[in-house]
């Protein structure tokens, strides 16, 4: 019961990663640049208020998808979910760039039952059975969210950035494993495979616990879906953006909520 509740909270955060909610979903890699094939990395997966601290709920490992440079799937090892975070290890056997992702495709709904406001989250297929017969003011949304991070052995490659044409996706102009303090990086965001203009992006450096301000960087994509971030200092950065539209693929959902989160490592000069 309790596990279910925690999971539901995590999924809610994953679904809403982009909206104005304080909770932040993230995958934090131990490091992102490797010189040795066969290197190990470890990743923390959690939802929290602060970056990157374990103070809310873990992300569910069931959603984890790790893609190797050649496009094959990599099985995570030593996965474990604790009270505040999930953790897993990866062995990087190939040269090139890996994508580590947690995708959420689901539905959420609000409704009233006997004058009381209720909420529900789950898979699209479970929607019909989940809403009680007497429910009124049912408002259902489709949600499509991605939480990603990247790691590279040797020379960065771009195979894992092949897009699916669904939801918000990131296309590198600057490679996300080639980021250095004081330099600017450019990325492109797509919605359903097309450049997403006017998307608002928030970039927050990690270690928020040890400073008083969020120090967020706010940028907006141009007509070509591109945006630029100049990294003020080295460290881990959390990036998120979100969008809403009516292009839902689910008959019961009136709107669609899209979100995208990525964690980047920026190295010192």
């Amino acid at each position: 019961m309790k596990t279910k509740l925690v999971l539901a909270t995590a999924l809610a955060a994953l679904a809403l990663a982009g909206s104005a909610h304080a909770h932040k979903a993230w995958l934090q890699p131990s490091q992102t640049v490797f010189s040795d094939k066969g290197s190990w990395m470890t990743v923390d997966a959690a939802v929290s208020n602060d970056l990157f601290y374990f103070n809310h709920v873990p992300l569910p490992l069931e959603r984890l998808q790790v893609t190797a440079p050649d496009g094959s799937s990599v099985a995570p090892q030593n996965g474990a979910t604790g009270k505040l975070r999930s953790v897993f290890d990866l062995q990087l056997q190939q040269e090139g760039t890996y994508k580590i992702a947690m995708n959420n495709e689901g539905m959420f709904a609000s409704y009233k039952l006997g004058g009381e406001a209720k909420r529900w989250r789950g898979k699209a297929g479970e929607f019909k059975g989940a809403i009680p017969a007497g429910a009124t003011e049912v408002n259902a949304s489709e949600s499509l969210g991605r939480v990603e991070t990247f790691a590279t052995v040797g020379k960065p490659s771009t195979g894992v950035f092949k897009t699916t044409g669904k939801g918000i996706e990131l296309v590198p102009v600057t490679h996300p494993n080639d980021l250095f303090a004081g330099e600017a990086a450019t990325f492109q965001l797509l919605i359903d495979g097309k450049p997403a203009s006017g998307l608002k992006i928030e970039v927050v450096p990690g270690a928020t616990r040890y400073r008083n301000e969020q120090a967020e960087i706010l940028v907006t994509t141009g007509a070509d879906g591109k945006f630029e971030v100049k990294w003020p200092q080295a460290g881990m950065y959390w990036l998120e953006t979100a969008s809403e539209d009516a292009k839902t693929t689910l008959p019961d959902a009136k709107q669609r909520r899209l979100s995208y989160v990525a964690v980047f490592e920026v190295l010192p000069q």
């Binding site: 640049v33 010189s35 040795d36 290197s39 040797g154 020379k155 960065p156 190295l267």
Partner: protein, 171 residues
């Protein structure tokens, strides 16, 4: 001054020397560091063009002899070298790779016709020396120089992971 540094000079002698050939001497000081756990630093030296692209890799000192090439694991800690060229190289590179060096002054000479310098067009360059030490720090020094226009004796002083780095250009 390991034999490996000389090996490359032998074929170099058989090449016709370009008219602008000059020799280059490098002196790299590995400083004494009082650390509970001391490892010899990894050191890379290379020549950059104005746009930061690598014109020539001069040397890379790392744990070349570790079994299964495990020494390559920490090459990425020389971050700028790794980014500028290391990640596209297949280590070890003949005539460039060498073993880590102990504390002290290390003189390395490159002849004008050597593999490292033969392709260098006349112009302005920067010598970059980067050191990274396991459980220690990282430091990078840059020395701009002209090639091969005139005799130059230049140096830079490191603060942490590098001591004095000297560069002599002999036209």
């Amino acid at each position: 001054m390991k034999p490996s540094m000389f090996k490359i000079l032998i074929p170099a002698l058989t090449l016709p020397l370009p008219a602008f050939a000059a020799d280059l001497e490098l002196n790299i000081e590995v400083p004494r560091i009082n650390a509970a756990e001391y490892h010899r630093p990894y050191v890379a030296a290379w020549i950059e063009k104005a746009d930061n692209s690598v014109a020539s890799n001069l040397l890379v000192w790392y744990d070349v002899d570790m079994k299964n090439g495990e020494g390559t694991k920490w090459l990425k800690d020389m971050r700028q070298w790794w980014r500028r060229s290391g990640r596209t190289l297949s280590m070890p590179v003949d005539g460039v790779s060498g073993a880590t060096r102990p504390v002290g002054q290390h003189a390395v000479a490159f002849k004008g016709g050597s593999k490292q310098l033969a392709g260098l067009a006349p112009g302005s360059y920067t010598l970059v020396v980067e050191a990274a030490r396991e459980v220690g720090g990282r430091e990078m020094l840059s020395i701009p120089f002209e090639w091969p226009a005139k005799a130059q004796k230049l140096s830079a002083q490191g603060k942490t992971e590098l001591g004095k780095v000297g560069l002599v250009v002999k036209p």
